[in-house]
Amino acid sequence: MTSAVLALFVREWRIAGRIGGGASVGIVFFLILVVVMPFALGPDLKLLARLGPAILWIAALLATLLGLDRLFQADHDDGSLDLLINGSLQLEIAVLVKCAAHWTASALPLVVLSPLFGLMLAMAPAPLALTAATLAAGTPALTMIGAIGAALTVSLRRGGLLMAVLVLPLTIPVLIFGVAAAEAASGSAAPFLSPFLALCALSLAAIALAPFAAAAALRHARE
């Protein structure tokens, strides 16, 4: 079983690397959003610094959802989903592994690069580090919730839009707690720890529950 988990993870990474979509598209999209913001908001550094965490979070949310619609669709279209369903791995575990590979390939680079992008928003070092921490804690929830939407829309030709409509409302709590924790980090009076812990709880719950929902949706999609 470990070898199958490893094989699936390596395969996802190889495909992401060779097709070149996954990580780079998300990062470029993230970068575009962050670069454009100061032009739209004007050169008020105080305002930028105050909005910085929220801008980083919105950019991360949209960039994460951007690549997710293809998560299962490619496998559905070429028939390799059959292999996952009748393979030696439980489909739930296969879903979890695919999400883990997707997260490390496309969300993790965003987390790592977010302090760099935050510099363009005139954020101070401490808020930068803590915002990156909230992104690291919160993006797994975004990926897992997105995976449910991707599984539900797997057999639709242009499911990307429907997926975004389905998934965005579910990601609102993650966004709220993520931005709340990040803003606390940038010096407001609100506490940092409680929204951060709620964010961690959301991620853990999504990791625990989403594979079952996504796997059930995929099994139905085979009909």
Binding site: A4, A7, L8, R14, I15, D78, G79, N86, G87
Partner: protein, 207 residues
């Protein structure tokens, strides 16, 4: 080991494509599913693989692993071949072996590809393969993990004469080892003593 189906009824989109179909196949037996387009050949194979719900009746693999479903003891090869264009032929096979519980080593990849006359493309990206070569790479998956039941949907599509005889050879070897084969095909498969399962008469029965 014995594949047994009784009174199998399958509906697709409200239309009954297979009604009350019963058959059985014992070790070493090959069943060729024939019938006109739309007779339910693919539906039957996908139902046996566990991808389609059945309306009534049932099927089982007697003497198989009772812990696993029939689909988990079967190789299913359909029209969508499950070959990833971004990976090499060898990487595709290694992944299939790891997923299906076989030996993913390079020696096994080479042996499987060579059996289908494709040993020279092991390091080629699958997107560079021709349709027939791609089909052969998908068929090589059958050799990467040992599973007692093979469910093949039009396995000869796009295959040239040499590849068809190579496919015949691996199918005969599988049957010789006590495997069971259910294949849907319009053309002749190079198998002796295969039984024919004709669909169409049952498929058009009134609902």
């Amino acid at each position: 080991m014995r594949l047994r189906a009784s009174d199998l009824t399958i509906e697709r989109g409200g239309r009954r494509v297979i009604a009350g179909l019963s058959f059985d196949a014992s070790e070493g037996a090959a069943l060729i599913v024939t019938g006109p387009n739309g007779a339910g050949k693919t539906s039957l194979l996908r139902a046996l693989a566990g991808f389609l719900p059945i309306e009534a009746g049932g099927f089982a693999l007697d003497g198989g692993d009772s812990e696993r479903s029939v689909g988990e003891q079967a190789h299913y090869l359909g029209h969508a071949d499950g070959v990833k264009s971004a990976l090499t032929a060898g990487e595709n096979l290694a992944f299939a072996a790891a997923m299906l519980g076989g030996d993913p080593s390079r020696a096994a990849q080479l042996a499987a590809l060579t059996a289908l006359g494709l040993g020279h493309v092991v390091d080629f990206p699958a997107r560079l393969l021709s349709a027939g070569q791609r089909r052969r790479a998908a068929l090589a998956r059958l050799l990467m993990a040992k599973r007692p039941l093979w469910l093949l949907d039009e396995p000869t599509t796009a295959l040239d004469v040499a590849a068809q005889s190579a496919l015949g050879a691996i199918m005969r070897a599988h049957l010789h080892d006590g495997g069971i084969l259910v294949a849907a095909s319009h053309g002749a498969l190079e198998l002796d003593g295969a039984r024919e399962l004709k669909l169409g008469a049952t498929a058009e029965a009134p609902v």
